[in-house]
């Protein structure tokens, strides 16, 4: 091996808690959480766009708060509660209010940005059930969509908020 540049990849075993399941993976510390979710946990609903925190496609919930999975190392996520788009399910196993509203209002075309948007607003609407359009636009600024021009997404989020308020009000 003299003169060879053999790089020893030092992998570490870690456990990630994703969507209610413990998942054991063997990873290098330099591996981004987004890549571990997609390649090791095989949850490919989390998309990777820009890989420097601009596009929002990789947004997941870490301890209930929307964060960029491309701007966190997986090794930092041990002991955290992670949820991805695969964990977004309605009460009866169908669509959530937001998913239904995105469907009805044509809030997506190619769908690449959609998981990041859904995950962000599932968490946001839980804490802010009656947002103004300005507030919705402010939060949506963290997710780039190159298809829709955003108008239908904003309409869908408003509709979902109204649906959630009715649900909560009626409960």
């Amino acid at each position: 091996m003299s003169g060879g540049n053999l790089i020893v990849m030092e992998k570490r075993p870690i456990t990630l808690h994703i969507n209610g399941c413990d998942i054991d993976v063997l990873i290098e510390p330099r591996k981004l959480l987004s890549d571990v979710i997609r390649e090791d946990a095989r949850l490919t609903g989390t998309h990777v766009g820009c890989e420097h925190g601009v596009c929002g496609a990789c947004t997941i919930l870490i301890d209930g708060r929307p964060q960029r999975s491309c701007l966190t190392f997986a090794i930092q996520a041990q002991g955290k509660t992670l949820s991805t788009i695969e964990g977004v399910v309605g009460e009866d196993g169908g669509y959530t209010a937001l998913q239904q509203a995105m469907h009805e209002e044509h809030g997506l075309q190619c769908g690449f940005c959609t998981p990041g948007i859904i995950v962000t607003f599932e968490a946001y609407l839980k804490n802010n059930p009656d947002p103004t359009e300005d507030e919705i636009r402010d939060v949506l600024s963290g997710n780039l969509c190159r298809c829709t021009g955003y108008q239908n997404i904003i309409r869908a989020i408003k509709k979902a908020a109204a649906m959630i308020r009715v649900d909560v009000g009626g409960a």
């Binding site: 790089i7 990849m9 030092e10 290098e28 510390p29 330099r30 981004l32 890549d35 890989e51 420097h52 925190g53 929002g56 947004t59 870490i62 708060r65 929307p66 964060q67 960029r68 491309c70 701007l71 966190t72 190392f73 090794i75 930092q76 962000t120 946001y124 636009r137 402010d138 939060v139 600024s141 963290g142």
Partner: protein, 291 residues
């Protein structure tokens, strides 16, 4: 777009972090929120050999009111400042400033200490820390020292922090009763870096004359800066429309903004003047509303 290889350390307390830093020196980098560090690592603009993750050191996070100061641990997330009931009630300038940082997902992870140590001339916390004369506490294995924000932030991405030192807390002196304030910035899109930012505080005496003015400009030079001479000259003046117009003219000529792909120096000057007029008007409104 993948970071290079590094050795990962997760010390459990500040003492252990300081020891690691003293041992590893310039080969090590501290990671707090990582919202500026990981992008440059992903782009391979930075390739530290060692990362020291301070996220597990819980004593470094938290917002406290003590000895008349509002003290924020370096690990306090922007979103925690934005939503802190204590600050929203007693120091609304800080949540208002935090709200302007990046996007929700960035604010949930990024930290005030990280932002100050990164010292981006367009960033929010350096602007606010210099505006309010924040005191910073810095810990090394040799002990603790204190420094004003203005001396800590030296130039673009350059701060007064030794290889074995960690910024631990940021202490903000509160505004006086009835002191008005305002913060504003120009961005091409919400969440982008500010092309120009301006922050002020304004205190009037009973006769409506200026008792204390603080005016800080961001993105107009290598660091945010206060217009100290102008602030002193403003004492005793009446803050009427003509005075605000005069201040906007002074902001136009201040600093030495650069032209880049985002904005020309001339545009930055014009926006500095415009923003100065806006924030002074807004701060004056707060003075008169008595908040």
């Amino acid at each position: 777009m993948k970071p290079g290889k590094f050795t990962y350390h997760a010390p459990e307390n500040l003492h252990a972090a300081n020891q690691l830093l003293a041992e590893l020196g310039d080969d090590a980098k501290i990671i707090a929120g990582g919202q500026s560090l990981i992008p440059v690592m992903n782009l391979r603009l930075a390739q530290p050999d060692h990362l020291i993750d301070i996220n597990g050191i819980s004593e470094l996070a938290g917002i406290h009111q003590e000895n008349g100061l509002f003290t924020l641990g370096c690990l306090t997330r922007h979103a925690d400042v934005e939503t802190s009931p204590l600050l929203m009630d007693k120091f609304p300038l800080l949540p208002a400033a935090a709200k302007r940082i990046g996007h929700l997902a960035i604010r949930n992870r990024g930290t005030i200490g990280g932002s100050l140590c990164n010292a981006d001339p367009a960033a929010e916390w350096p602007l606010i820390a210099i505006l309010l004369d924040a005191h910073l506490s810095i810990q090394s294995s040799g002990g603790e020292r204190h420094t004003p924000a203005k001396e800590f932030i030296q130039s673009v991405y350059t701060v007064d922090l030794g290889a074995d030192e960690i910024l631990t807390t940021v202490a903000f002196p509160p505004l006086a009763r009835g002191e008005g304030w305002a913060v504003n910035q120009i961005c091409r899109r919400t969440g982008d870096f500010a092309l120009v930012s301006v922050a002020v505080t304004l205190k009037l005496d009973r006769q409506g004359h200026i008792e204390r003015l603080r005016l800080c400009l961001g993105s107009m030079d290598v660091t945010p800066f206060r217009l100290i001479d102008v602030e002193q000259a403003a004492r005793g003046k009446i803050p009427d429309k003509a005075w605000i117009h005069e201040m906007a003219g002074i902001a136009f000529d201040a600093g030495s903004p650069e032209s880049d792909m985002h904005a020309s120096a001339q545009y930055r000057r014009e926006m500095a003047a415009h923003l100065t007029s806006e924030v002074l008007t807004e701060a004056l409104g707060r003075c008169r509303a008595g908040t």
